[in-house]
Structures are given as C-alpha cells and as structure tokens.
C-alpha cells in the first residue's frame, strides 16, 4: 500500500513540508519511490511567469541525452528562459544514472492559440519520451506544461528530498502532491510512479485498479493522443479524468459517476437518474474496481479527492481557510496543517467527492446522491 499527501495553500511553501508528511506516514508504505507534483510554482532565482512560460520536468540520464534534448527543444522552437539547478547529493540517490534532473522554463511559442499550444506541448512531451525510449531510456520526461513541476525518483521520499535539497526553499509552490511508492504491482519504472500527468491534469492513487486491463484497452482504442504508457494501473485514472472533463466536457463531479457509478436502484431515486443511467451504460468500460483513493489536481489549482465505491482506502481532508491538505492518514494531516481544528477534519465515504477550490476558502463536499455541488464549511 502507498501513502498520499497533498497540500494546497494561498502562500507558496516548500515541497519539503509534504515530504515531512510522507515521513509521518512512514509505517504505511514501503518508501520505494517518490512522485512529486507542484503547481503555483515560484523560483527564488527566477521570476516565473505562468502566462508566458512553460516548464519541462524530467531526467537526463546521460550527457548525450541532455545535449540531444537541447537540440530537440530548439528545433521545436522553444526558447529556454531558466534552468533550475538542484543542489544534488548523489550519495543519497539509489540510482546511478541520473546525469541531470531537469526543471526548465521555456518561453511559450508565439502565434499559437491555446488549443493548438496544449496539443503542441503534449506532442512535444510524447516526442521527447519516445526519443528517450528509442535511446535506451536515457531521457525521461514527466510533464511539459505551464506551471507544473514534477519530480520522480526511486528511494525513500525524504531521502530523495534531501538528495535534491528540496528544503532549500529555492522552489516553492501553492499546490504540492506527493506519493511514496514506486509501482510495485508491475515492474519498477519511473514512468510507473504516481502522480500521472496529461495536459495539465494530474492524479495519484492509493490503491490497485483491478479493472486496469479492460479500461486500458478501451482508452487505447479511442486513439486519443497521450493515452499511452500504462506502466501503472493507476495511470488510467488520470486519463479518465482527462476524458471526462476535456473530451466529454462534463463537470468535475461527473468523474465520480463515471468511475464508480451508483447502482440501478440508487439511480431510480436520483434526480438525474435517467441521464446517469445512460452515462453508466455508455461509460461502463471506465468503471474502476478495487480499493482506491484518487487525488487529482487541475491547472486552475483545484484539488480533488474521490473514494472507491466501497471506501476501501483511507483518506482525510482538513485545514483552514487558505490552507488545506489531503492525506492518507491523520498523522500526515497533522504534519501539513498542525494549526487547524481537527474537529472539522473530514473522512470521505464511498459516495463523496471532496473539492478544494482554487480560492481555498472552503471545502466542497459533494455526494453522488446529490445533483449539485454542496459547499460546506469545514
């Protein structure tokens, strides 16, 4: 089992805080890897402008890969504005083939509308990933998007944080999500490490998606660019969220209805039962299975937590106006927002979707039995 932690705050904070929460939950996972995603990014050494610039995250495993990357990015018309140099302590990293951790800021190409740019960014990420794979896996690319930094590494999360000196406050962010385990259900592979990313949408999961293969086959059959990879059974959660919100253009709440639809007898009494019944049939290959707590973040800094249909995994949400956190365990929550009122912590059940909106004023706790989002004071 793995552990998850997410913190979202009005004021940027160090990702190390979330790693400390992972450390607090150390008994719950094997610490075989770290996946970290940051949004609302702020660099001490560079004034990052979200509207004008995009960030590439990944690892160049060799010098040759790095110089190839430089050339490829240039060829595709990206002008580099900033290259974040981590203060690295290689002795703390298990792997030896890490030539350079890449967090690079590029200027957005001009004369490209938003839709084309999004497509171009994804195609570039996939192109770089393929290029790395064609060269014996010497280049790993996690994300290429506006205002998103991703770090993935094998090893104990806190040790990885120390190795990259994430406590030096040179990178801060308003939203940080972290997951503390390599994918151990299948082979060890950096691409198999949560969180997963596609076009600004990211999810991480504590659980096992036992319906993985049929869902994967269905998504692949859609021939939608970017619906590839699948080194982990949890990657489909990201793509389903992308599919529901970006391709079907349905509201965020519908995600829950797609992955864990209500039963027929429950839908009979639902105000939108007719629609949801039809949706359940049309999207039945996207019904997930197994124990899962899914945490997602979106480009507007919205965060979301969804439980599986049987509530087989732990998760807790808490915080105060301006700062909220989601963690697998109470101790993780304590580490991230110690000064909150724990009486208002919320442990979602099978029907719940918890949303931390971008304004971070209050949590939205929405149940699947309701037609609309019900804002609630935490």
């Amino acid at each position: 089992m793995c552990r998850l932690a997410l913190k979202s705050s009005d004021t940027p904070f160090s990702p190390y805080e979330v790693l400390l929460a992972m450390e607090a939950m150390q008994e719950g996972y094997d610490g075989s890897g770290l996946g970290l995603l940051m949004r609302g990014v702020q660099f001490t050494d560079f004034n990052y402008e979200k509207d004008k610039q995009v960030i590439l995250s990944g690892i160049a495993h060799t010098e040759e890969a790095l110089s190839r990357l430089n050339g490829l990015m240039e060829d595709r018309g990206f002008v580099q504005k900033y290259d974040h140099e981590f203060t690295v302590h290689p002795e703390l990293i298990e792997a030896s083939d890490r030539y350079k951790y890449i967090v690079r800021v590029y200027r957005k190409p001009e004369n490209m509308d938003e839709a084309n740019l999004e497509e171009y960014l994804m195609q570039t990420r996939l192109f770089l990933r393929r290029d790395g794979e064609e060269h014996g896996g010497d280049l790993t690319v996690f994300s290429f998007w506006s205002d998103v930094v991703m770090i993935k590494e094998v090893g104990w999360p806190l040790a990885v944080g120390d190795a990259l000196s994430l406590d030096d406050n040179r990178i801060m962010a308003r939203v940080v999500m972290a997951q503390g385990r390599q994918n151990t259900n299948y082979g060890i592979n950096l691409y198999a490490c949560h969180p997963f990313f596609i076009q600004g949408i990211s999810t991480m999961t504590n659980g096992e998606n036992t319906a993985f293969v049929p869902i994967k086959e269905w998504l692949e059959g859609k021939n939608i660019p970017g619906y590839t990879g699948y080194q982990s059974d949890s990657e489909v959660f990201t793509h389903i969220l992308h599919y529901v919100t970006r391709k079907l253009k349905l509201p965020l709440q519908v995600y829950k209805h797609v992955i864990t639809p209500l039963k027929s007898e429950e839908l009979k009494n639902h105000p939108q039962g007719d629609f949801l019944q039809g949706l359940r049939v049309a999207c039945r290959r996207l019904i997930i299975d197994g124990p899962n707590a899914v945490i997602a973040t979106l480009p507007d800094e919205t965060s979301m937590l969804v439980m599986d249909a049987k509530k087989m995994r732990p998760a807790i949400v808490g915080g105060k106006p301006g700062t909220w956190a989601i963690a697998s365990e109470m101790c993780g929550m304590m580490a991230m927002v110690p000064d909150r009122d724990p009486a208002f912590d919320f442990q979602p059940m099978r029907e719940h979707t918890v949303i931390i909106p971008p304004d971070r004023k209050e949590l939205q706790i929405w149940t699947q039995f309701d037609p609309f989002t019900l804002p609630q004071a935490a």
Partner: protein
C-alpha cells in the same frame, strides 16, 4: 444342437456385446414386475421365457439324459433402432436394483450401422467429445488479495449484471441525449442466460418450469435472468403476460410462431427482453432448425401454424434475402421497428472463422444490439450427427478473436458479444462462463446445462441418451407426449432453476472476489486468466501457466 453353419448373419447383425450399452440383469433379484420393459424409451429390453438345458447322467441306472430349467428373464434387443441408449430408466424403476445399463468400454460397433435405410444418423445432444474443455482448463490466477485488502464474497456487494443492447460511444450518447434523439435500448441482465430452446423442442412442462423459475429469480431473488425461446414462437398466454420481459424471442429461418407473436404485439403488457435473429447455431452450422414429426403435436402444430405430425426442417438461410449483409440490415431494422425501437435486436451465428465478417458488419449497423456466437459444443434438439461432431468452431478462440477485433477498433463497449456452446459441459458452468467473460464476452448462453441441472437430462458426450429428436425423452424434457412429460413437475424444474442461479451468483462472487473485482462484470479482464498449454495461451492471448 444347432450347427454353426446354419447361423445366419446380416452385415448389421450385432450381439449385445457390440452395443454401446450392455444391460446387466440380475436374475436372482428380479421380481419380474415388468416395469423396466415398460419404461424403456427405445424398447431395448423384453421379458422372455428361456429354457436352460442341464445335462444329467444317472450312473446307477446307466442312463444319460437332460433336465430342462425354465425361467423368465430380461433380454436386450440388438437391432440398431432398439439399441440401449444408456438412459438408465430401467434402474430407476426397478424395485430391487436388479437391472441397469453398463457402458461398453470396448466396442461401439453401432456407429458403423447407424445409417439404416440410408438415413444418416440424426440425434439430439451435443458434440460427442468428452473430457475437459479448454474453458475447463482456464484458471483465474491474478489474485489481488496479496496486494490489497481482499473482497469478501459473502459480505461485500457485487455488481454482477451485464448489458444487452447497443451501447453508444460516450460522445455520441451525450450528443443524442442533448439533442433528444433516439438512444438504443439496453437491458441490464444476469450474464448467464438460458439459451434458446424452442417451445416444441422442450415439453410444455419443461418450458413452464423454466419460465416459473426465471420469474422467481427476477421477482424474488433479484437475479435478472432472461431466457430465449428458440425458434417456434411462444405460447400466447406468455406473450400477453408480464413475464414476457424475461424472454428473448427468437426468429429463425422457418419463421415458425411469428404469426402469433406479431398478432400479439398490440396486446403485450410489456416488451420482450430482446429479439434474437438466428442465422446459425453451434451444434449444426449451416443447417436450419429441425423439429422431427414425432414432436409436432396438436399444440405445437397450432403454435407454429403447421399440420400435425410432419417434419419441420427450417431452411439453412433466411429465404427472403440475398446476402448476409442484407439480411442482417433488413431484419434487424424490421424487428426493431416492429417493437418501436424499444427492444434490442441481435443476431445469433454459429462459431466460424467468418464470424468476424458478420461482426464488422454489425459494428456499422446502428441498430444491432449485440452478437451471440454459438460454438461447436452447443447442444441441439435434433441434428445430423456429422454436423454436431464435425462442423463448427470452438467458442473460446472464436469469441476471443472477435473481442480483440473490437478492441483494435475501440468498439468493445459498443457491440456486446455473447458466447455459447459447451458452457457447463462438464458441470463447471460458472467457471466456464466467467472464463469466457474475461476473454471478452458480455455474457453466456447455456441450454444443455440447464436441461441437465434443472430437469435431470441424462444425455452426455459419451453417447448416452441423445434421443431428444424423436420425442421419447425418458425424463419428459424434450417430449411432446403427455405420458412422458407428465413425469416432469414444472414446480420442481422451477425450484432447480432458482437453485442453479443462486449457486452461479455465489460462485461468480467467489471468482471475482480474489481478483479484486466487484464493481462491474470483469469483461475482457484477460490479465486474470492462465492456462497450462502454451499454444492455447498464445492463441487466446492469455498467460501460460504451469
């Protein structure tokens, strides 16, 4: 003493040792009540007086002589038409356990003579090939409880139902929903379906029992079981009853019974579950339905609109049509229209290497509600032995191939595939069905298994019984003779239907729980399957395990 030379044999002269079943009769126990000879469906045995010579030598009188003992015994006919079929009804009626058939392990000489008067061998049952099937050998090996909390088959909730009917791609569903356009009808049903057995092939008591059982499963047990009629219509009282919603009406190339059905449409209280258009059947691909004259009783004749006592062979193809494409298109649309586009309509074909062609045709037909493929191990009420034994395609690879074809097109959610043919052949009905579901089927149809489990059908794949075609079913399952079918109490059949489906439901959970599946039927979950044969594993695209 007779001279050996005077023994006359014909080419088809057989002794009882040459027959597939040998009657073993224990004279010391026999009470000569005659029940066995009366009950035997093929008159294989007869009561007869015998004389036994006992040589006697009186030494003192220096006289040689004979004594003759007379006794009454049971003897076995050796003619082909009266050969013992091994049903064992004689044993079941014998008060003293004095008689019973024993399988002949050495000789099956009758096979060579089963075509008397030039009549090729016709029978009921299914392909006479015994032993474990491919489906029996598939193991569910991806056990999820090692990585995650296990599901509890006894306590957790499981979604076991499947969808029958055309499923739109999500984008198209949303577009039509917003525009208020037609959305193809779908049914949420239990994935184990009672396959098509016609009212005609089955006795009225069997049919009634099945329907009662199905209604009980739906209305009391909450298991949405549906049953298919097969060709030959449906009794008018059922057509006009609220039970019609549990019934899939079949239309086949003989169109038997459809006059009644069409006339009943205005009076129907509810829609049928679906309409099945039969193009082929696994037991006899390329051959039409066959109801032999023995079974065309007054009732059947009325339902089918034919004279009594005539053979009813349906043509192999739908007569009004020039091509399968045209047939599929026209019939699906016509039948959809007849029921106001509220009922899923799907074709049933026999397993075949050309199944994919039909499937691809259906993918492009917006009214097609599914495809049922019936494999070579499917049963039948009547067919030529050669069709049953040698014609067709096993279901596992055929279904898998079709499913993977849909996967490659990204259409596997749209046309649900149903599989039939040998499900539960060796009794492992849930295991067989779930294996097919994980290979890509949305559900399975089972006919022979239902007859065996719910009504005590005695037929097996070693040539036992298999006389469904001539209306002499010793259990009254496939007979139209009231003297025979009154042996079968519909209430008992209904009880067994409920037993069977309750057990299947439990076993499904016992299979799904270790795999970590409970939210939806694991259609296409091929990562959970393994088989101990590398070639089969490769063909089915599943794991090889040993």
């Amino acid at each position: 003493m007779d001279s050996v030379r005077s023994v006359y044999t014909t080419p088809s002269s057989l002794t009882y040792c040459d027959l597939p079943w040998i009657i073993q009769h224990r004279e010391d126990r026999c009470t000569l009540c005659g029940r066995c000879t009366a009950v035997c469906p093929v008159n294989a045995i007869y009561l007869t007086y015998r004389r036994q010579r006992v040589p006697k030598l009186d030494v003192l009188k220096k006289k040689r002589g004979n004594e003759y003992r007379h006794f009454v015994g049971i003897r076995q006919h050796t003619s082909i038409e009266k050969k013992c079929i091994g049903c064992g009804m004689c044993s079941s009626v014998c008060p003293n356990e004095a008689i019973g058939p024993v399988p002949n392990t050495n000789e099956h000489r009758t096979v060579f003579h089963q075509n008397q008067k030039g009549e090729a061998w016709k029978r009921g049952g299914r392909r006479n090939k015994s032993g474990a099937t491919i489906l029996d050998r598939i193991a569910f090996d991806r056990i999820s409880m090692l990585t995650d909390p296990a599901l509890d088959a006894g306590r957790h909730e499981f979604s076991l139902n499947t969808i029958l009917g055309r499923v739109l791609p999500p984008e198209e569903f949303l577009r039509r929903k917003m525009a208020g356009e037609w959305i193809p009808p779908t049914r949420e049903i239990f994935p184990f379906i009672i396959g098509s057995m016609s009212f005609g092939a089955l006795s009225p008591n069997m049919w009634l029992g099945l329907l009662q059982g199905v209604a009980y499963c739906n209305e009391v047990l909450g298991i949405p079981v549906v049953m298919a009629t097969g060709e030959g219509g449906c009794p008018p009282w059922v057509l006009k009853s609220p039970f019609l919603k549990y019934i899939i009406l079949q239309i086949a190339s003989g169109y038997f019974g459809w006059d009644e059905i069409i006339r009943a449409i205005p009076e129907m209280q509810c829609d049928p579950a679906a309409i099945e258009i039969k193009y082929g059947q696994g037991a006899k691909p390329g051959d039409g339905g066959l109801l032999m004259w023995f079974k065309v009783s007054k009732l059947i004749a009325r339902l089918r609109g034919v004279p009594e006592g005539v053979d009813l062979p349906s043509p192999p193809v739908h007569q009004t049509l020039y091509s399968i494409e045209e047939s599929v298109m026209k019939m699906i649309q016509t039948l959809s229209m007849a029921f106001g586009f509220r009922v899923p309509v799907y074709p049933k074909i026999s397993g075949s290497t050309s199944a994919k062609a039909v499937l691809n045709n259906l993918v492009r037909n917006p009214y097609a509600g599914g495809l049922l493929i019936d494999g070579i191990d499917g049963g039948t009420g009547a067919a030529y032995n050669v069709s049953m034994d040698a014609t067709g395609h096993p279901i596992a690879s055929n279904l898998r191939e079709c499913y993977l074809d849909l996967v490659a097109q990204g259409r596997q959610n749209e046309i649900p595939l149903f599989a039939a043919g040998g499900i539960g052949k060796n009794g492992n009905v849930t295991q067989n069905g779930m294996a097919l579901i994980m290979l890509g089927a949305s559900g399975v149809h089972m006919g022979k298994y239902i007859m065996q489990a719910c009504a005590g059908c005695l037929g097996n794949e070693m040539g036992r019984c298999n006389v469904c075609n001539i209306g002499i079913c010793p259990k009254g399952i496939t007979s139209q003779n009231p003297k025979l079918y009154r042996r079968l109490d519909p209430d008992d059949v209904a009880q067994r239907v409920a037993d069977v489906f309750m057990a299947i439901r439990t076993e499904m959970k016992k299979i799904m729980a270790p795999l970590g599946r409970s939210q939806s039927l694991p259609i296409g979950m091929s990562d959970a399957l393994g088989i101990d044969d590398a070639d089969v594993a490769k063909r089915l695209n599943i794991k090889y395990i040993c």
